[in-house]
Amino acid sequence: MKQLVNAFLAILIVAFGLMFLGSRLNSAQGYTGGNTLTIYNWGDYIDPDLLDQFQEETGITVIYQTFDSNEAMLTKVEQGGTTFDVVVPSDYAIAKMREENLLLPLDHSKIPNLANIDEQFMDLSFDPGNMYSVPYFWGTVGIIFNPEMTEGMDFSSWDSLWDSRLNNNIFLVDGAREVMGMALNSLHYSVNDTNEDHLQEALAKLNRLSPNVKAIVGDEIKMLLANEEAAVGIVWSGDASEIMDENDKLDYIVPEEGSNIWFDNMVIPKTAANVEGAHKFIDFMLRPEVAAQNTEYVGYSTPNTPALALLPEDISGDTRFYPPAEITDRLEVYDNLGKRMLAHYNELFLRFKMNKK
């Protein structure tokens, strides 16, 4: 009995000692004061030095939290157990949050730096007039390929994927919109096409791609491609830049038939506690120097025109990530097709997956 009580006391003492230590560390970092700003962003999606700079300038302590998928983020924000002040969802998630009334309208007068954003990235279908969101990073869907393993093949067209030389050598990302969109694009249709004949045509074309497809994978596609498990992959440009950081043999291209363009935008959820600070933070992130520094750290494409001018030529001149106008004109944002159409897209994608031997 005595031993039990002693053990129990020892555990409590250790636990409370650790708790004390933790709260000391917390207050040393300033995480406990009233003047805080909670940011909910993708993992490793901001230069940490910028957070320090923001804290120094404004005296607001930043609590930075991360998520790994739009769906996980949506669950957390919807339930409202926590107060996030700034969140960075992707385009379709913003449309969904808008529909579900989860967002606060932005006060544009408090974000003067909004003028830095390139016109072509404003006023898009998922958020007309940028009522609720401000572009953070953008990118495309395209083909990443290994020139050594593909022997001078040309990937400027989606059709090149159907080449028999690529037998069992392609990784597809596991997304219904991405894969269906790619097939629709290769037939010169829109990624938002809802015409049943066109969709069936796309499915038939996808089924012919099956022999070339090695696997349909999720986030691990980055590791697999960097390790040269296959010569070609369909990926988001953000992933492509990470893969190319790991393995510089690889190259990325956006086919000329067109493709999807995606956005991660900053929004303020309804539950925000520090709306004033959130606006300050958004404006801070849109400053040319800040956006440029962040772009260099993260490696995705910035929508900030003056920031682009500050970046070294080998980043801003990289047509793979800042494609020329004739390509960007053909890029399309995913429209919100509605629940039924989305289910249909998923169904078709599933049929393709099941057909794959």
């Binding site: 129990f8 991360t66 790994d68 996980a72 926590t82 990470e242």
Partner: protein, 275 residues
């Protein structure tokens, strides 16, 4: 006969190699100056320095330990009385029902438990953070601790308590001087099982963390999306070594105590093996 033994040994060695290889692989690369898990370029301690400089990560480690210690201590305390109550129920049917309910909680998927807690806490208006994580960890640890303690109660001869009563022991004396010492190994193994469950639980914790409060499993998972940085390897190595120290310490403590009065020591239960 000798040959057979040799095969058994080889088999055992193989099993342990399979179990430990990934851990050693991870530890090996935590010293890699190359920055990836592919090519080993040279020895460096940079990632260990990074871990100790990352205050946020250290706070998260402390959170994780505090939650694990507190939740398993509280859960074990509750489980002791829970197990006693279940043991004292006379009706066989009621007892089996309670036991099954207890087991259902152990086998039910973590994701579902986590989602239910999220809904419960938001309805109850409890802010997500330390309290919500602690409460949910206590909750999922209780059934495990109960399961560890019950067999010891069932093994205990009922004549012991009767004899104690006959000799004039009060109800309290019977509990503190007879029952608790006998089920002590079960209590400890229950505590340690709860501790490990709490340390590595991701699914439940993911749903109930918030407001800047996070535990290690959740943090590593959201970092892993960008590829696991080697500082995570370094941290994992440190935690692994720490666990080994704990286990070795626990082993020596037990051995010292087991010698004089070896009667009560039950190795299987000590190691947390349910019977």
């Amino acid at each position: 006969m000798r040959n057979k033994n040799k095969f058994a040994n080889i088999y055992l060695v193989l099993v342990f190699v399979v179990l430990y290889a990934p851990i050693f692989y991870l530890m090996y690369y935590s010293f890699n100056s190359g920055g990836t898990m592919r090519d080993f370029e040279g020895f460096t301690l940079d990632y260990y320095r990074e871990v100790f400089q990352d205050t946020r990560l250290i706070i998260i480690v402390i959170n994780t330990l505090v939650i694990a210690l507190l939740s398993s201590a509280i859960a074990t305390l509750i489980a002791i009385f829970g197990a006693l109550a279940i043991h004292h129920i006379r009706s066989r049917r009621a007892k089996n029902t309670l036991l099954s309910l207890n087991n259902v909680l152990i086998v039910s998927p973590d994701v579902i438990i986590g989602a239910s807690f999220l809904i419960l806490f938001t309805i109850a208006g409890i802010k997500l953070g330390f309290t919500s994580v602690l409460l949910s960890h206590v909750a999922f640890s209780i059934p495990i601790a109960v399961l560890m303690i019950l067999p010891h109660l069932q093994d205990m001869s009922p004549t012991l308590t009767d004899a104690a009563r006959d000799l004039g022991a009060t109800r309290r004396d019977v509990l503190t001087k007879v029952i608790l010492p006998i089920i002590k190994p079960g209590i400890f193994s229950g505590f340690f099982m709860a501790l490990t469950y709490s340390l590595d639980d991701f699914a439940v914790t993911f749903f109930v963390t918030g407001n800047g409060y996070s535990t290690l499993s959740v943090e590593i998972y959201s970092r892993a999306r960008q590829g696991v940085s080697l500082s995570i390897n370094a941290l994992s190595t440190l935690i692994f070594l720490f666990t080994i120290l704990l286990v070795v310490g626990y082993y020596f403590l037990n051995r010292r105590k087991a010698r004089p009065g070896a009667a009560i020591a039950e190795p299987a239960a000590e190691l947390g093996v349910p019977r």
